[in-house]
């Protein structure tokens, strides 16, 4: 047997001939709901956050290697493209963090009814966007202030 699911997909008609049981309907038959997007977005954000963390290792390893390597990394962090990449990393991290907290609440039995989940979804989006914007603006602001202080 290639796949154990085969055993469950094969059924018998009343006359004894074999038939393939219908599969459960796939995604396209359902009306779009925010909760289904937030669910898959959490998985995607987890993967993106992991990829960003792998790139983030460049920063700490360059700092360990010395000033020359570190200035190379600073070229990336000072570049608008690199900054956009880091903002995306921050967004993925913040959303995975927020959705993770929701999962921990659900696991403990809180906010797990259909009504509560649908109420919390837009709040999670708002918290994610707000926190990400505040973090990015704050970090960029601190970095600019620090480099200005050094220049003067």
């Amino acid at each position: 047997m290639q796949d154990v699911r085969d055993a469950l997909y094969v059924g018998q008609r009343s006359d004894g001939t074999l038939t393939r049981r219908p599969m459960s309907p796939h995604l396209q038959v359902y009306r779009f709901r925010l909760s289904m997007f937030l669910s898959i977005a959490n998985r995607a954000a987890g993967v993106a956050a992991a990829g960003g963390s792998a790139l983030g290792l460049c920063w700490i390893s360059a700092a360990a290697k010395g000033p020359k390597s570190f200035s190379k990394v600073q070229k990336v962090t000072g570049n608008p493209l690199g900054q956009m990449l880091m903002a995306g990393w921050a967004l993925a991290l913040v959303y995975h963090f927020v959705a993770g907290l929701r999962h921990l609440a659900w696991d403990s039995g809180y906010r797990f009814s259909k009504k509560e989940i649908n109420e919390d979804g837009p709040v999670a989006v708002g918290v994610t966007v707000g926190t990400t914007l505040a973090l990015v603006a704050g970090i960029v602001g601190v970095a600019i202030c620090r480099s200005r202080k050094k220049a003067s």
Binding site: Q2, A50, I60, S61, A63, A143
Partner: protein, 143 residues
């Protein structure tokens, strides 16, 4: 699915009789708990790291080296790196379990574990090098 057009029975046993007598699944809920426990540990560690990013934004390499040489920062960074990549491995394993079937499942999981392990180790070695190189340099300067 081996042959989607022509239904056929390969095993003439019910699912219950196949499962009966095999005992538990062995691993049980260990993976699930490991995922939650590492997630809970990462909450304060991430909060600490965000504060450090504010402290280090726009910092030069000597400033970062000085920061990384403090034993407390080294401990927190090591915990953060190890738990981040441990949690990554657990999460990616679930994705592979969901989407990769058949013969590719085992090699895909092992490849992913190998890559994430090496990344995590690379991060840990970098944190340690930053910490130990920083402290030894300052002792040499003191002499």
């Amino acid at each position: 699915m081996s042959n989607p057009k022509k239904p056929h029975v390969t095993v003439m046993r019910s699912q219950l009789s196949r499962a009966r007598g095999l005992g538990s699944g062995q691993a049980g809920v260990g993976h699930w708990w490991a995922e939650r426990a590492s997630a809970v540990a990462l909450v304060p560690l991430s909060g600490w790291f965000v504060i450090q990013v504010f402290r280090l934004a726009g910092a030069s390499q000597p400033e970062v080296a000085k920061w990384g040489a403090r034993p407390f920062n080294t401990t927190m960074m090591l915990s953060l790196v190890i738990l981040t990549f441990y949690h990554t491995q657990l999460g990616l394993q679930v994705i592979i379990d969901d989407y990769v079937h058949g013969k590719a499942h085992l090699p895909a999981g092992l490849l992913m574990k190998g890559i994430v392990f090496l990344l995590g180790l690379f991060g840990a070695v970098s944190v340690l090098k930053l910490a130990l190189a920083g402290s030894s340099r300052s002792t040499i300067a003191a002499r």
